[in-house]
């Protein structure tokens, strides 16, 4: 019995160390963001929150020149939301439609089209980044939401997920629907979409996080400050810090990292079960 207890204690000890390892950096970032720049420069990182929470976050979010030259934190927040939500919805709609066609229809080009979609898995955006940039700038889409979101949707991860899910839907459903005279569109909207509700929710959550966290593409796609997302703003503030100046505004850098982290973390925590299910299922 005694042995077993020691084992339990060591198990909890390992888990607590793991939790601290994963959470402490973010907590320190938050605590430090609530202190003044002078205090941080003199005393280093902080483990306990200070009294400057409101003034720092107010300045970062609402005051012109608070973090960037012109753009407000709220504008970056809005841009991040548009990217995250637009990416998630676009991805789900487009990949559901494509997966529906591939699974439920017999057509001549089905196989070649399937392979074209499959090929996108082979080439992450990073390796074709410069030609992609040229295409988008040639179409005059730099600094637009379309140019930002649509090229990111090109990869087929979502399509494969929905294909897998549709394949697991019983064939009898379609047989019955056809006996009742359902059209292809009717079957999709009235039967398949309601059936996929949980899956759609899970994919929306994952894709929101993926979209929100995009870095390289928005970085080269946005040239105007007013189009910056929070994640890109981080990069800028890092450069400001690196350049130095009289008093580095560390608390603002930390505040911005917290702001960029909070929404996707909240989404993941609130919808934890859907998110885990979607993540594990989609990668099968």
């Amino acid at each position: 019995m005694r042995n077993w207890n020691w084992r339990l204690i060591s198990t909890h000890a390992i888990l607590i160390v793991g939790v601290l390892f994963m959470s402490l950096p973010v907590w320190v970032a938050f605590a430090t963001s609530t202190h003044s720049a002078e205090h941080i420069l003199r005393n280093g990182l902080q483990i306990w929150p200070g009294g400057d929470f409101l003034s720092t976050y107010n300045e970062v979010l609402f005051v012109e020149g608070g973090v960037m030259k012109a753009v407000l934190g709220t504008t970056m927040l809005k841009n991040s939301l548009i990217l995250g939500i637009g990416f998630a919805i676009g991805k789900v709609v487009i990949s559901m439609l494509a997966a529906y066609a591939i699974v439920y229809f017999r057509f001549r080009l089905a196989l070649p089209l399937f392979w074209i979609i499959f090929m996108t898995l082979l080439l992450p955006l990073e390796v074709r980044i410069i030609p992609s940039y040229e295409v988008v700038s040639g179409l005059g889409l730099l600094d637009t939401h379309v140019g930002l979101i649509v090229p990111l949707i090109a990869s087929a991860t979502g399509t494969f997920f929905f294909r897998q899910f549709f394949l697991s839907v019983p064939d009898e459903l379609l047989e019955a629907a056809r006996l009742d005279g359902a059209t292809p569109w009717g079957f999709f909207i009235d039967i398949l979409v309601p059936l996929s509700k949980t899956m759609i929710a899970a994919i929306l959550i994952i894709m929101f996080v993926v979209g929100w966290n995009q870095y390289l593409w928005p970085l080269i796609m946005t040239t105007k400050e007013e189009n910056y997302t929070l994640v890109i703003g981080i990069k800028q503030i890092y450069q400001i810090l690196a350049e130095g100046g009289e008093l580095p505004q560390y608390q603002k850098a930390f505040a911005l990292t917290i702001l960029a982290t909070l929404p996707p973390v909240l989404v993941v925590l609130v919808f934890q079960n859907w998110f885990v299910k979607g993540l594990v299922e989609s990668e099968k």
């Binding site: 909890h12 074209i116 090929m119 990668e283």
Partner: protein, 292 residues
């Protein structure tokens, strides 16, 4: 494909069209461009270009800086994959054992999934900041002459640490769900046969997790290759002297900063081939695992 399907008509083309159009414009065309440009040599002003066959490949791939980046990428992705997988497996096994507090541990260990790599990079960058970073001060205080701005080993340490930190939660989620997928009867049978928990883990649990582990290895290697761009760009940016350049970071550096289009494209194509090889491995494995 389904056994029961709709009749042949134009409708499926309409459904699949949005995705195909996007892929052709924003995917196939740029990818073809990358391959084409990798055979071209442009003059400094980008006015004229000349077809040079494999010269760009020879010039870049055989250059010292590319080989250095390839070497670093290999070491880096091996370390990140191995360390984040082992750490996540340890935590998942422990989290699967406890009853009290299980869901709290689960939540607090997985939430970092939502943090963007560049955000993790910037946090780490500030933790290692010579002026305020406690980790920087700590390492120097315990007698390690730590300076990631000058020493390539220390710089590598920083990017590996941050990349591992960022990746543990994804691996943890998959390992935990893999562990929970092991039938109770198997666990009970193994308890009867073998009293040592350590031996039980290595002879029963670990082999049963092999598909998950293998799948995660591919995911982690891809992560270390591509997604760590944001971490490198917000911490070392390849410094000191290109010692922490990954291949993807170098493609970006040479293409955008250095404006060497041909060389950068040649590097892209080599990267494509590497990903292709990885995917072939992954799909051969998935075919074996999934039965319809």
């Amino acid at each position: 494909m389904k056994r029961v399907q709709f009749e042949h008509s134009a409708i499926p083309y309409l459904f699949v069209a949005p995705q195909i159009v996007i892929i052709v414009i924003f995917f196939l065309w740029p990818a073809a461009q990358a391959i084409y440009q990798s055979f071209l040599l442009e003059d400094a002003w980008g006015l004229s270009s000349q077809f040079v066959w494999f010269r760009n490949y020879a010039d870049t791939i055989l250059s010292e800086s590319w080989l250095q980046a390839a070497g670093f990428t290999l070491v880096f992705s091996t370390l990140v994959t191995f360390l984040s997988l082992s750490l996540a497996l340890l935590l998942a096994v422990k989290a699967n054992e406890v009853i009290r507090g299980a869901s709290t541990y689960k939540t607090t260990l997985m939430w970092a999934y939502a943090i963007a790599p560049p955000v993790a990079g910037l946090m780490g960058n500030l933790m290692f900041n010579p002026l305020i970073g406690d980790l920087y001060k700590f390492f120097n205080a315990i007698g390690w002459d730590f300076n990631h701005k000058l020493d390539s080993f220390d710089a590598g340490f920083v990017v590996v640490l941050i990349s591992v930190w960022k990746q543990v939660s994804v691996n943890f989620i998959f390992f935990l769900s893999g562990l929970q997928g092991i039938p109770k009867s198997v666990n009970e049978a193994s308890m009867m046969d073998c009293r040592s928990p350590t031996r039980r883990f290595w002879t029963i649990t670990f082999p049963l997790l092999a598909p998950t582990t293998f799948f995660l290895m591919v995911i982690n290697i891809t992560y270390a290759f591509f997604e760590t761009f944001g971490i490198i760009d917000t911490t070392t940016r390849g410094a000191p002297g290109g010692a922490t350049n990954t291949l993807v970071f170098k493609v970006f550096q040479d293409g955008f900063r250095g404006a060497d289009l041909g060389g950068s494209s040649a590097q892209s194509v080599v990267l494509m081939l590497i990903v292709l090889a990885l995917t072939v491995v992954q799909f051969r494995f998935i075919e074996r695992k999934v039965h319809y």
